[in-house]
Symmetry: C2
Subunit: 386 residues, 2 copies
Amino acid sequence: MRTMTWNQQVVKKNNKALVLQLIMEKEPLSRADIAQVSGLNKTTVSSLVSELLDEELIYESGPGESSGGRRPVLLHFNKDAGYAVGIDIGVNYVLCVLTDLKGNIVIEKNQMVHRTPYSAIMSIVQNMITSLIKEMPSSRYGIIGIGVGVPGMVNKEGSILLAPNLGWTNIQLKEDLENLFHVPVIIENEANAGAVGEQQFGAGLDNQNLLYVSAGIGIGVGIILNNDLYQGKNGFSGEMGHMIIELNGKSCNCGSRGCWEAYASENALLAMADPNIDSLESLMELAEKGDQQALDLFKQIGQYLGYGINNIINTFNPEQVIIGNRLAMAQKWIEEPIRTTIAQHTLAYHQKEMQLKFSKLKKYSTALGVSAFVVDYFIKEEAKTP
Amino acid sequence: MRTMTWNQQVVKKNNKALVLQLIMEKEPLSRADIAQVSGLNKTTVSSLVSELLDEELIYESGPGESSGGRRPVLLHFNKDAGYAVGIDIGVNYVLCVLTDLKGNIVIEKNQMVHRTPYSAIMSIVQNMITSLIKEMPSSRYGIIGIGVGVPGMVNKEGSILLAPNLGWTNIQLKEDLENLFHVPVIIENEANAGAVGEQQFGAGLDNQNLLYVSAGIGIGVGIILNNDLYQGKNGFSGEMGHMIIELNGKSCNCGSRGCWEAYASENALLAMADPNIDSLESLMELAEKGDQQALDLFKQIGQYLGYGINNIINTFNPEQVIIGNRLAMAQKWIEEPIRTTIAQHTLAYHQKEMQLKFSKLKKYSTALGVSAFVVDYFIKEEAKTP
DNA sequence: AAACTTTGTTTGCTAGATATACAAACCTTT
DNA sequence: AAAGGTTTGTATATCTAGCAAACAAAGTTT
């Protein structure tokens, strides 16, 4: 049961968070604007704003344009009050970004890796963070937290139960990083993180219900409903790569048959391609040159993606579906077949007003997503302090 | 953006609702118990309880057992403070129940129908409600609202956009009923209502994340996540009957191919059966007699249901999947193939702790679900009054 | 220059949650 | 049975935070 008790502190905390959120989203903004938009009393707004000023989460700037009376004092979000670390651990790379509180990348580190034992990846990550901290501009709050996106199943306590493509089982990355750096650490599945990233900073701005299809070596889906990431009972939601789209179809690594990712992932694409083509990149080069076989392959993959997205739309009636991860690089060739497939199969009422988009953050979706997570946590915690 | 402003009225309203909810769920209960469980101050609880007593939503009973000191005054939920009407409009029946505030059926009316033009159904519904009102016991609040479940797409404003099996398009049932009876009216999709019904009164008690698979003439799915019904952007979520489970598979009424409900619905079952079998009931009779063909058919349908449920589990990582509507009557024959199919296909981590159950409310799922909706709305509204 | 507008603060009020004290009712121990 | 301790529930006073009204400051319009 949700035993949530309400009292004045809760009210204040939430109002303060509301004011801060408004400033973040619509800066520059006057106190009067905030009062009008939020419905809060002018005095209440003034008092909350003054606390936020003390905490250096916002700052004032010179007077704005008058609208027929006294000129307003404009308020801005202090995006440099602290910095978040966002890390994307992929199968052959580690990407690490330092972002300000608005998700702008301040420093970026990228390293290719060939083998992925935990100890090796851990030491790379540790080095990256340590050097980020050295290079980081000084600020009121410093590093506010570390977020990590991994291609695997993460439970709600932050344990990585299984990351097949990294060869990891039962890894306590959260604990290890917290012991090293003594800041809040958040571990998330790569698709979930990507969904949050796109919603906060990318193609999904202002959308309450969106699905992010991470189409890479496998397929995972990040699910945002009513503005919140939906994680399922244990944190394992969105394993739609293993949705069956063909009865007794191609066999899949997971032991089942006919899974979506056996048809529509990068692995599936390469399996269908000529054996001497070894990467998505080389296939894209061929397509760029007009190679018919490559073009047909992309068309095929687009159709397969479309079938799965049909299922997503009929299930969730979302505002938006965003396609991300590596296959999104092939947008040029796969977009049209995806759209055609949806148009032919999906219920008309569901198609109406539904937006299909491609990732805007590209390779940064996941890293920026976990960074957004960290910022979110910080903002909520910070707004609490008296 | 969620521009939710908070103030003391909101606090009080929510605390009052919390207290009432506690009493509903755990009666009998003393004021001291409530204070302890909720974390609210004893005085606060006392004052809220006294308001609830004035409103006759709860009542006191003789003192309970002492636990070493003064004996507590026990509080009970007054389930007879008012009554809700729940109506299930099916393709060949109209079921209408009057329930108390705990979902117990007080009066029940059931009528077979052969043709389903709106005017005919509407007059049946009107007559049923009118006679319910006559027969209803007297109470403080009388009829607190009317809920209707329909097999079709209902938008968030309560318009029935499309109910193919009834032959309805763009029906304003909500408006019509409100004009007739002047109480709040809620219209919901049949599967959504069933999900709510099972969660509140049936097989899904205490589950925060559950999916209700309404397997009847077609297939619809009601989705409850984090204790709330998820309706999607427009209210059209859960059309998983049109999830593609076979590429280029059987053609479906919706215009697409390979839809789940083309394989696993009652219609699909009858299409596969001998042409002189005209109903699920007669097929069940055959199976009861040990007819091998009938048994095989049920096994087949069970497998098909299992494939779709596999997709549901991998997508949502739910606590529970409940199978309801007409096909649930064949539990005896379809349960085992469903379980086997899931065991063979679904990711192991997702299977763990996942409960598969069959409807407990049987034919009442939908009617009790909309009734629960009405009660919920009433409780929330009522708690507001000063 | 006078009148009006808009912005933001000061002042006093109020609702509602909380802490403290206390009374009532009960149990346990001597 | 009397004393002492517990538990339940209420009465009283206090405090927090939002709100309304008044006002000051800084504009614009006529």
